[in-house]
Amino acid sequence: MPLYRRRSFVALSTTLVGASAIAVASAGALVSAKAEPTPPPLSNDCQTPGVNISGAIPLSNVQRALRETKVIKILAIGASASAMMRRTGEHYFKVIEGVLERTIPGVDVQIIDRGVSGELARNAAERIKSEVALNRPDLVLWQVGSSDAVAGVPVDQFETELDDTVAWLRGHGIDVALVGLQYIRGLAKDAQYQAIRNAVNRVADRNQILRISRYEATQVIEQVEAQKSGEAPNAFAISEQGHTCLSEYVVRAISSGVFLRPVRPR
């Protein structure tokens, strides 16, 4: 083989191998990207080092909906989302819908907001059943506990009602994500508030459902702010920042739950 032909052959072979390697690598990347897209990173203000935002709980019913219809219906219940309205006027749930749709390609996310501020868990429980019948959601995102804590609802009564409703939802093939209580500095040592907070945690653990650690996350945000400025930050500013970050946490929790493999019982 003449030298120039041998060089051409080597060059061609190298090119083909290289191209193949790139193609294989790209395909692999595409496959892995399709299988497990990563949720958008948390913004700087919402970083919570050391806090596990939602745990590793798969949303099996949402996964099924994604496979079968490419539509995810989320019913938002509990405290109204109005508190999470961004200063820009962008609605909290619209933001979540948009980010989830960008994170999970090809999916249509529909959030049905049926939040009623100040509603106790027991009243919401009744309404949830009707709303489920009317809207057939795949996931119920339930912000629960703050109103009950403030109204002084007995903890055992609250826990039983929450437990029963979660069981009813799961029995109807619906995933549940609980958004726990807000972090309020003045209530950090309030026995009733902390007891209700613990009850929400227990229900989530017992039922193996997603719980968004809003309290712990906001607490860390406050600590970071305090370290930066050297003094205790304004409670109202922290609360507002907590609301803004909550949309990021919800996106992260749901998108993680969508791509986790269901845990098979041994």
Binding site: A79, S80, A81, S82, A83, M85, R87, G89, H91, F93, K94, D113, R114, G115, V116, S117, G118, E119, L120, N123, E126, K129, S130, V132, A133, L134, S146, S147, D148, V150, A151, G152, V153, H172, Q182, I184, R185, G186, L187, Q192, A235, F236, I238, S239, E240, H243
Partner: protein, 388 residues
């Protein structure tokens, strides 16, 4: 409710009346509804377990709106007697404006109360009670929403319904004058359309819908209006009230058991269109409406006896009912204040009892004051009668 038990009740529109009207069933039950609304609007209070919603699918909201329709009929009949139709329409428009103004005033007070409590106790959570967060986090659009009624605070959302129903009442009255047989069918047709196609009014800037959907709740208002009349459906019900009560009583008992022991059927198993079969307060769904009408039939035949057995209670409830707008306003602000007090001082039974006593006393005093000096002269007359 037979008309003879009502006397010449004309609702609060009867400003300038020479005398305070006697106790009657409409005022009595309106007063009852106001007290239960006050208690139910303090979530978690010990005494909420004793209000009738624990044994009834419908609650005081249905009673209040139904009696508003009933009061409208009695008011209109007074103008009809004088053939003052235009005057009647003007009075209704005035009333709608008055209720709207009262609503704005109440919402403003509620917002100030929440802001004061939140800053005093350094607790931003209080800013978010009852859907109020938007006012503080998105004030520009929230104020537009408040004025246009597209944004409502939780527990302050029944007056917007009342404003819409009162504003629409000239239409109801004109339909009654010019096509009386079309009024109830038109109302039922709108109701069925709204339930079948799930039509609701969106809120703004908050995402959601009106808690009390006026397009559905208009039926209970129109039913109150129609049943108060001596003609048509009202006359039919009066003629057959005893037979209707025999039908109604088992419904009331069965639904009481269902409500008390939470034996509601699984709504997911209901056929389509689901709103015709499930219990949804926002849409005043048929199961609520049917149970309320059954309860109203039972109330109608028992009111006289209840009122005769409990004269002091009758006088107090009728006083509250006569000044329903004043009492509702005072009660709404008081219930919010009570929530703040319960939060600050940690709710226990003695505190709940104190709040109930103080709240009811202030509501009764407000009603008395609103009727003064007529109420004072009436008290003197009653005292004189007793001495005689």
């Amino acid at each position: 409710m037979p008309r003879e038990t009502i006397g010449e009740t004309i609702g609060e529109t009867n400003i300038g009346e020479a005398k305070v009207r006697e106790a009657n069933a409409v005022d009595f039950w309106r007063g009852f509804a106001l007290i239960t609304i006050f208690i139910n609007h303090i979530p978690g209070i010990y005494f909420e377990r004793f209000t009738h919603r624990n044994v009834s699918i419908s609650d005081s909201a249905e009673l209040f709106v139904f009696l508003a329709g009933w009061g409208l009929a009695l008011m209109v009949s007074r103008y009809e007697a004088r053939k003052a139709h235009i005057e009647a329409i003007k009075a209704l428009a005035d009333r709608a404006l008055r209720i709207y103004a009262v609503h704005l005033m109440l919402v403003t007070i509620a917002i100030a109360l929440l802001a004061a409590a939140a800053t005093t106790y350094d607790n931003p959570l209080l800013l978010e009670w009852h859907n109020a967060a938007t006012v503080f986090y998105d004030p520009i659009r929230a104020h537009i929403g408040l004025v246009t009624l597209s944004y409502q605070l939780g527990y302050f959302d029944i007056l917007p319904l009342y404003v819409v129903l009162t504003a629409a009442s000239p239409l109801v009255v004109m339909l009654h004058w010019y096509a009386p047989r079309a009024l109830l069918p038109a109302s039922v047709a709108l109701y069925v359309f709204v339930l079948v196609f799930r039509v609701s009014i969106p809120t703004w800037p908050t995402q959601g819908t009106w808690f009390f959907n006026p397009l559905a709740w208009q039926l209970i208002f129109v039913l109150g209006f129609v049943l108060a009349r001596d003609t048509g459906a009202g006359a039919f019900v009066r003629r057959h009230i005893n037979a209707l009560v025999k039908l109604a009583l088992p419904i009331v008992i069965a639904t009481s058991i269902m409500q008390f022991w939470n034996l509601h059927p699984d709504p997911t198993g209901m056929p389509e269109p689901k709103l015709l079969f499930v219990d949804v307060k926002s849409f005043q769904t048929p199961i609520r409406l049917l149970q309320f009408l059954a309860l109203a039939a039972v109330i109608a035949v028992t009111s006289k006896r209840i009122m005769a057995v409990l004269p002091p209670v009758t006088r107090v409830l009728s006083l509250l009912g006569r000044k329903s707008l004043v009492v509702f306003s005072v009660g709404s602000v008081l219930s919010l204040a009570c929530q703040v007090v319960r939060y600050v001082y940690k709710a226990e039974l003695p505190l709940d009892f104190l709040l109930l006593v103080v709240g009811l006393s202030v509501m009764i005093f407000s009603a008395w004051l609103a009727e003064w000096p007529k109420s004072a002269s009436m008290s003197k007359t009653q005292a004189g009668n007793r001495i005689a």
